[in-house]
Structures are given as C-alpha cells and as structure tokens.
C-alpha cells in the first residue's frame, strides 16, 4: 500500500488546504522530505539519534499482572521510556533533521499536553535552534510541569487565549506565526495532521514504534499479535504502531478516543466516533463540527487528546474498516491510570491510560496476544488525577 498519493490524499481524505503564502514553503518541505526518505545518510543520522539520544529501541514489555486481570497476553510498547517521556521525540528528531537540511534556524510548535512542546524544545536545544511553543491557556494550567520543562530547555511558551484555549487554538496560532515568519521558520507539527506532507512525514517518523514492536513480538512469541491498541488524539502514536502492521490483515487495530464525560454528551473529543467529514488545519478529515461547519468545543481529562480533528489516514482506515475507533471516558481513563500504576508499577500518561482502559472492554481470550502503545509516562498528570479523585 502506498498512500498518500502525490498530493497527500488518503482516499478522499488529506491533501493540502493551505493558505497560498505557505504553499511555496510547504512544497519545499515536501521535496526535502522526499529526498530524505531516499537518502541512506539521513536515516543513519536519524537512527543514530534515536539510539544514542532517545534511547531506542525501547522494550516491548510483557505485562503479566495486567494480562491476568484482562486476559490473554498483553505487551506494552514502552514509549514512556524514551528520552522526554513519550513517543513525541521520534517525530521531533526526524523533523529537526529536515529543518536543519532546509537551513532553518527557528522552530515553532503547538502543544496540548506539552509532551510535543517538550520534545520540540529538547531537540531545538540540542541543535542550537530558537524555539517557540504555542499552548492554550487552559492547557498551560493543567500541564504546568511541562511548561516549566520547556522554559528550562530555553523555549518560549506563548499562551493562546483565543477560541477554546486548547490544542486546536494553539495550532491556529502556530499557523499564523508561520504565515508571518515563513522565510526563516520551520513548523514542527506534533501529530499526523496538518497540510501534506505532515501526516505522511510524521507517520514515517513514528513508524519506528510498530517496526520495533513487530520484530519484538515475533521474537518473544513467534507470531503476530491479534490486537494493537493505541490512544488517538491527532493519531501519531496510533499510526506509528499500526502502520507496519497494515498489510497483516489479521491483526486487529483499535484506536481509542477520548470519550470525556460520555459520547452521548457534548463533552468529549471522539472525533472519529462522532464527527463528520470536513476541513481543519489544512487537511480533509473527520472533525467535530456543528451543522454549519463551525468547529465544536471538545473535552477530555487528557490535554493531548482534546482535539476536534484527527489525522486523515485514520479517517481513511476507519472508512475502509481496516481499523476500529472506540472511546473511553475520563472516569475509565483514570481507572486505567490507577490500574497500570498498581499492577505494574508504571504510571502512564492520561492519554495512554485511555488505551489501557480499553483492555477491560475487549474481553480478551486466553490465547489472544495484544500490544498496547504506552505512548507516555504520567508524571505530568499526577495533579490532574489527584484533583479528579478528590471530587
């Protein structure tokens, strides 16, 4: 399967709905990325940093007590053990190398949970580039730890107070910054969304998750898994895990979205489960919108999943029924957070807790083999969880 097509389409989804001012730069970026894809030197350098700096490969850990509780054999892909504490570093390392090749000196990024912001600030520090991160006012409050980290790393965090004051508005503001600073700035997008080539490029950098997991499970079990489970915000950790398994038709793919207070209420961020097709942030995909095409407010306890859009490739995988998209509520996610902490001694990010929580609903059989993407660690979320449990 070789999607997207030349213009970045996954079936009817994707593409590049970009303001004209950005177009020339986006085209240049695409060229650079295509060149890098075929360049052995690029991958050698990228893999060097993944290994020596980010600490890859990370383990595929057999979670024995979790398996006892939920059934079958459950393995965790330990993205939480990467440097900076999540899968986001896989992508920021790749993109900063492209930025370097393009001669850019300034990086901008949007962030929700702050994990991408931290990962961007980290690689910018390492490569000696300026970094500014856009973050919604609401998220700055609930992810304060990551704001400190970004500041320590030398990045400037710009508080975004427009719209819903969360990830989507941070992305709007980052795009506006890019429009102004189009000559010297590289926009380091944190998920598989945005204008072509971002959805494909970010996927290609995150695919290391699935590539490793595939080898590791074959080594450990001698067979492919029955199920892959990952949380979906924009969808980068999920596509990273899924992508190397797409042609293994027997492997079932589950993307877990934020059900918030329940998908029958208006307070959720379940884009694929409840959305309709539209255009947001440069790509055609499922989005949460009202009848007139206005983007809806979303809610999730997890800042990283609190986004009304989703990567176009997920929309495609949903429509061709290759992957299933399901939801988990705030309450269930917090349960998942506690369960993994107590049973395995691993405190997961609230985003990843959604994937853990879904295990309970899967009714796994004894011989079923499941890989869960543990996309990040939960230090940043302990305050949120403590507050939630007090309620």
């Amino acid at each position: 399967m070789s999607l997207p097509d030349k213009k970045g389409h996954f079936g009817i989804f994707g593409g590049s709905y970009a303001p004209e001012t950005l177009r020339a730069l986006i085209d240049k970026l695409e060229k650079e990325y295509k060149k890098a894809l075929k360049d052995k030197k690029f991958w050698e350098e990228y893999n060097y940093y993944l290994r020596e700096y980010a600490g890859r490969p990370n383990p595929l850990y057999f979670a024995e007590r979790l398996s006892e509780k939920f059934g079958g054999k459950i393995y965790l892909k330990r993205e939480d053990l990467n440097h900076t504490g999540s899968h986001k570093i896989n992508n920021t390392l790749g993109q900063i190398l492209i930025a370097k090749r393009m001669g850019k000196k300034r990086i901008i990024a949007e962030t929700g949970a702050g994990q991408h912001g931290v990962a961007a600030a980290t690689v910018a520090a390492m490569f000696g580039m300026k970094c500014e991160v856009y973050m919604g006012e609401e998220d700055i409050k609930r992810q304060a730890l990551n704001v400190f980290r970004m500041n320590i790393l030398g990045a400037k965090v710009n508080s975004v107070s427009s719209g819903t004051k969360t990830l989507k508005d941070a992305m709007n503001e980052a795009i506006r910054d890019w429009l102004v600073n189009v000559d010297d700035t590289f926009y380091l997008i944190g998920t598989v969304s945005g204008f072509h080539p971002y959805p494909a490029m970010v996927r290609d950098f995150q695919a290391v998750i699935g590539k490793e997991a595939r080898q590791q499970i074959l080594k450990a079990e001698g067979r492919l898994p029955n199920n892959l489970v990952a949380c979906v915000g924009g969808g980068s950790n999920a596509i990273g895990l899924f992508y190397p398994f797409l042609n293994d038709k027997k492997v079932r793919l589950f993307g877990v979205e934020a059900g918030g207070l329940g998908i029958k209420t208006a307070m959720h961020a379940a884009t694929l489960s409840k959305g309709s097709v539209g255009i947001l942030h440069g790509t055609k995909t499922y989005i949460l919108q009202d009848k007139k095409g206005q983007i809806l407010n979303t809610h999730s306890i997890s800042a990283g999943l609190d986004y009304p859009g989703v990567g176009p490739e997920h929309s495609y995988l949903k429509d061709i029924k290759r992957a299933q998209y399901v939801t988990v509520t705030d309450k269930e996610a917090v349960e998942g957070f506690m369960t993994l902490s107590r049973l395995e001694g691993i405190i997961p990010a609230l985003e990843s807790s959604h994937a853990i929580a879904y295990l309970k609903k899967m009714k796994l059989k004894k011989n079923e083999l499941t890989i869960v993407c543990l996309s990040g660690r939960g230090d940043k979320d302990v305050n949120t969880v403590i507050d939630y449990l007090k309620k």
Partner: protein, 264 residues
C-alpha cells in the same frame, strides 16, 4: 457578462472594502452594505465567520467571534445580500473558510449565492488544486471563485491562478495574516508581475490601513482591498449605530479620494 467582469471594463483604479457579516449585528451589516454601495466602492467582500480563521489577525478574529455570537451564517447573509441587490449593482463576494462552504454543500452554496445575487467567493484555505470539482461546478454556473496569490507564490503557481481565477486575482501584500501593522508592505511590487501574466485585474490587500498607503500600492495593482482597518472603525463605534455609519462613511470617503482620483 457578470458584475465583476463588468467592473473590469470600468476605467480607473478600484476600491474594495471588507466587512464581517453580523458584526455588530445583521441589521447593521445591511446598513453598512448599502452605505458602501451608495459611496460607490467598486466591490464588497463580506466575511462569513468561522471558528478557526487561520489567515486572520486579531481584528478580524474578534469580529468573527462577535459575529458567531450573533448567529451570522451563510443563509442569513445571503438574505441581506438579496435585499441589497434589489437596490444596487455593486459586485459582492463572500470571503470565508472552506469548511463552512463544504459543510453547506458547494453545489447548493453556488446555486443559492447566484439566486441571492452574490457574485463569487474568496476562500483562503482552498487552493485551486484541492477539490477541483468545486472549481468546475462554479465555472459552469458562472460563479466567480477568486484565488489569492502571495509574495511567496512560485511563478508556476501564479500562472495557474491567473488562468483559473475568475473576476480578479487577489494579491496578498504581506507575509502574514490580515491586519498586520502598517509599514510591512514590503512585497507589493510583485503584484505587477502577476498583472503582466494575464489580462486579469489584480487587487491587492492585507495590511492596508491608511489612505497614504494607497498611492504606492496602486502603482503596481488595479485596486486596493481594505479590511481590518474598516472592521476596526465599525467595532470602535458600534454602541451608537448612527455614529458608526457616519464614521464608516468618512473612512470610505478618504480612501475613495485616493483611489478614484489616482493619477500616475
């Protein structure tokens, strides 16, 4: 010949004014439109608010938020256009984001626009090479889709846009969003390059807020587009509707003088 094509036959430079539908309210929008027609502006751009206007600066973002609160949408605005159209022949186009039109259904959008007497649409986040069917449907219906070129546009893309745009070509004067500060009009000369590419009239906008800027920009273009500065005047005077109209009128008069009395 549609109204924008007719405009092309009119001698002299053109003045285009942008306003946001529903800011401060729909009735004011109608009054402002009629004022603009009476004042003889060449063409009017009517913004339809969208929750996530990535190409707009603070002024138009906030106008959009106010307009959304007032319930401004495509249908309500078309109703006003229809009423104004009964009295005036001034070309009017929408300026909005693609999702609004996509969700409405673009065939229905074009049909209803034409029925109301709206002449076209400017959609900053739908380039000519996405959803090409939309362009085709518009063309065959005689509905103008106006494309935006930028200082960063490649020659190759600019040529395509000159060929595909109908009515006129919109030249974005600055790298940035609408409403950037004055003095940043560094790339305006390129408008002349696009003008030479085809017979299309080229109107230049983004960042024009003062009548003094007009002369220089008109050296290289066929007309100027004023948006954020006009929206600001409306907002600053929205408490008193009468005052708002007269301030807005004075604002337009100053620009009209510069544009319509322009001599090389």
């Amino acid at each position: 010949m549609n109204r924008i094509e007719k405009l092309e036959k009119v001698k002299g430079k053109k003045l285009i004014i942008y306003l946001m539908a529903g800011d401060p309210d729909m009735a004011s929008t109608q009054a402002l439109l009629e004022m603009l027609c009476t004042e003889g502006v060449s063409l009017i751009e009517i913004g339809i608010p969208f929750s996530d206007p990535i190409a707009d600066g603070k002024t138009i973002q906030l106008a959009g938020e106010r307009a959304l609160k007032n319930g401004a949408d495509i249908d309500k605005t078309l109703k006003i256009v229809k009423a104004v159209r009964k009295k005036f022949d001034t070309p009017m186009v929408f300026m909005t984001y693609y999702n609004i039109i996509y969700k409405y259904g673009f065939e229905k959008f074009i049909a209803n626009s034409l029925k109301a007497g709206l002449d076209g649409a400017i959609i900053p986040d739908r380039p000519y090479d996405e959803d090409e069917n939309f362009g085709k449907v518009a063309k065959s219906a005689g509905y103008d889709i106006i494309y935006l070129t930028a200082p960063t546009s490649s020659v190759e893309r600019a040529r395509k846009m000159v060929e595909k745009t109908s009515g006129f070509l919109y030249y974005i004067l600055v790298k940035g969003t609408t409403g950037v500060k004055t003095g940043a009009l560094n790339d305006y000369k390129k408008a002349a390059v696009f003008k030479k590419m085809g017979k299309r009239q080229v109107f230049a906008g983004f960042g024009i807020s003062k009548p003094e800027q007009v002369k220089e920009v008109l050296k290289y273009s066929d007309g100027v587009i004023v948006g954020s500065a006009f929206v600001k005047i409306i907002n600053e005077n929205s408490e008193d509707k009468k005052k708002m109209l007269s301030k807005a009128r004075n604002f337009v008069k100053k620009f009209s003088k510069e544009v319509f009395e322009y001599e090389k």
